[in-house]
Amino acid sequence: MAISNAMLGGLTRAQLLEMHYTMTLLRRFEEKSAEEYTRGKIGGFMHLYIGQEAVGVGCLAVLRKEDKVLSSYREHGHALAKGMAPNEVMAELFGKITGCSKGKGGSMHMWSNEIGMLGGNGIVAAQLPIAVGVALAAQYQGRDEVAMCFFGDGAVDEGAFHESLNLAALWKLPVIFVCENNQYSMGMAVEKAWAVDSLLPRAAAHNIPCEQVDGMDVIKVYEAAKRAAEHTRSGKGPVLLEIKTYRFRGHSMTDPTYYRTKEEAEEWRNTRDPIGIFEKYLLDAEMGAQADFDANDAKAIAIADEAAEFAENSAFPEPEELFADIMVDNSTALSYRYER
């Protein structure tokens, strides 16, 4: 099938190859993270994004620097795609002082004021109300800024999802709600959790435009996100995107994935890999060559390795950090001398 430039989102060769690089970086970075987790360098929970790269990269490609991103605990990819330095992300995973959150957040809590990455959240759907408020502040102060809020298919069953959609629609707030429907909330298959078979009726219930998107096709994601951003930037209020995707790994590093068959996961990996699909598009359209992909891959591997080395060589937080940054004014439970 011949693919024209118009079918590649109207993006230039350089932009397309940049997207390819970012997707590859996310993949290689997470593979490296998994390796370091196995080596015991990373602790706690770690939720990998592998398989879902087209969603984060396609969506974030439409944002501007001043736009804000809020995410769930599966947010390494969003942080990287918004522009966070891989070294800072990896150092955070290692719990080092050079991490984006000084090693105090970990895998689920990445933040940067500079690039507008306003956190992963460890409580399912808790980032939606916050995104509504972030957008409210932008609207209130007359800033041309949108909040993009990522969450999984499990989050839409929480009350916070419905409360947030209603309020955002009521106040016409510039929020793009992005549901990454990876088809399992932990081990619960989406068809066992939802009484409906898509988010369209749920969006309609709150009077919010909604699109279903193939999340393994980065161009389709990019185009849908672009439409959503145009809609919300024009003052028409929020948009909901249901982006169907698949996580190639378990829910977290300790998930043996008993709830789905090996064959199912194999089939997605072999036939629906978002990077493979994108490479085929680029080759067909003659917008990229195997040599470009190989160069991107080599660069991504080098950056991931360098990030791991940086994290390894960074210091852990000093004991004084234990009591630092709880309150802006350093106040504690007791005023004055007994805890100072």
Partner: protein, 332 residues
């Protein structure tokens, strides 16, 4: 100074801070047309418009979380959650986000927000609308939790809370709204700090530590105790997080005896926490065991006679004080 109600003092604080700072806005249930369930916000929408005085749907989790998001992105929200009982629906946002974001994101964000809500019982509102629960939030690092008891403190502390760069829970006892007290003229600038208690009555025989509505009960008890020669010092805690431990210990050093009087439940609450702190840091100053006056350990009953039994009264405070002040001491 003129005399105004606790309610009017709160409204003045909000109005003055909204005039002072464009970033300050208030949102909550029925605060525009209705003027707030306790009429605190009455008239504010007329002056500031519905951009800055916003009615929300009955959706505590989202408007609480949205307040946090707005605070993260440059505003200074006041969120009225009507009552602390309803804040339980939003407690995830308060405890898991507002209290933790600065720390878990390495000191980058700040969450300058005020959550206003009523607390307390005594108006026959039954089990689900009569709780104190201040200790639930005072347990959490990352929050400030204050409970003023007088109109002067209410205005001065609310202004401080709105200017504070941290999340502050501002708890207003339902039975205090009509209490009157002296407050400087509107526009005469003053604030009251969020981390200091105050001695509301000087005394030498015993320290009664209290806060919120129980301060008034304690002051009445002190009047009666004075008639029999017991000079009670009445300490208004004003804040339960942080706790002004220095003020407490200085008073205990003077009186050597303590009654803690609170409306909340006995176990694992503010009173027991205070007692533990006093034993930890001031054991040598004590001449008698700390006495604890508290609410009955039951869900609040509706029926008036039962409700009266569930909420501590003046006589309970008097008895507790009499029990640990020896007659010989009073005569001396």
């Amino acid at each position: 100074m003129r005399t105004i109600t606790f309610r009017d003092a709160l409204r003045e604080a909000i109005r003055e801070e909204m005039r002072r700072d464009e970033r300050v806005f208030i949102m909550g249930e029925d605060i525009v047309g209705y003027g707030g369930t306790y009429a605190v916000t009455k008239g504010l929408a007329e002056e500031f418009g519905e951009k800055r005085v916003r009615d929300t749907p009955l959706a505590e989790e989202v408007f609480t979380g949205a307040g946090i998001g707005a605070a993260l992105n440059g505003l200074r929200p006041i969120v009225e959650i009507m009552t602390i009982n309803f804040s339980l629906l939003a407690s995830d946002q308060i405890i898991n986000n507002a209290a933790k974001m600065r720390y878990m994101f390495g000191g980058q964000p700040s969450v300058p927000i005020v959550f206003r809500m009523t607390v307390g019982g005594g108006a026959q509102r039954g089990s689900q609308h009569s709780q104190m629960l201040e200790s639930l939030y005072a347990h959490i690092p990352g929050l400030k939790v204050v409970l003023p008891a007088t109109p002067y403190d209410a205005k001065g502390m609310l202004k401080s809370a709105i200017r504070d760069p941290n999340p502050v829970l501002f708890l207003e006892h339902e039975l205090l709204y009509n209490v009157k007290g002296e407050v400087p003229e509107e526009g005469d600038e003053y604030t009251v700090p969020l981390d200091r208690g105050e001695i509301k009555r000087e005394g030498k025989h015993i320290t009664i530590i209290s806060f919120s509505r129980m301060l008034h009960v304690s002051l009445q008890a002190a009047e009666d105790l004075a008639k029999e020669g017991i000079e009670a010092e009445v300490l208004d805690l004003r804040s339960v997080r942080p706790i002004d431990i220095d003020l407490i210990l200085d008073s205990v050093k003077k009186t050597n005896r303590v009654v803690i009087a609170e409306e909340g439940w006995k176990y694992y609450g503010t009173g027991q926490g205070l007692a533990a702190l006093i034993y930890e840091h001031g054991f040598d100053y004590l001449d008698a065991p700390i006495q604890h006056v508290h609410g009955a350990d039951v869900p609040m009953p509706y029926s008036k006679p039962l409700e009266r039994l569930a909420i501590p009264r003046k006589d309970d405070v008097i008895k507790a004080a009499q029990g640990i002040v020896p007659t010989a001491l009073v005569r001396s």
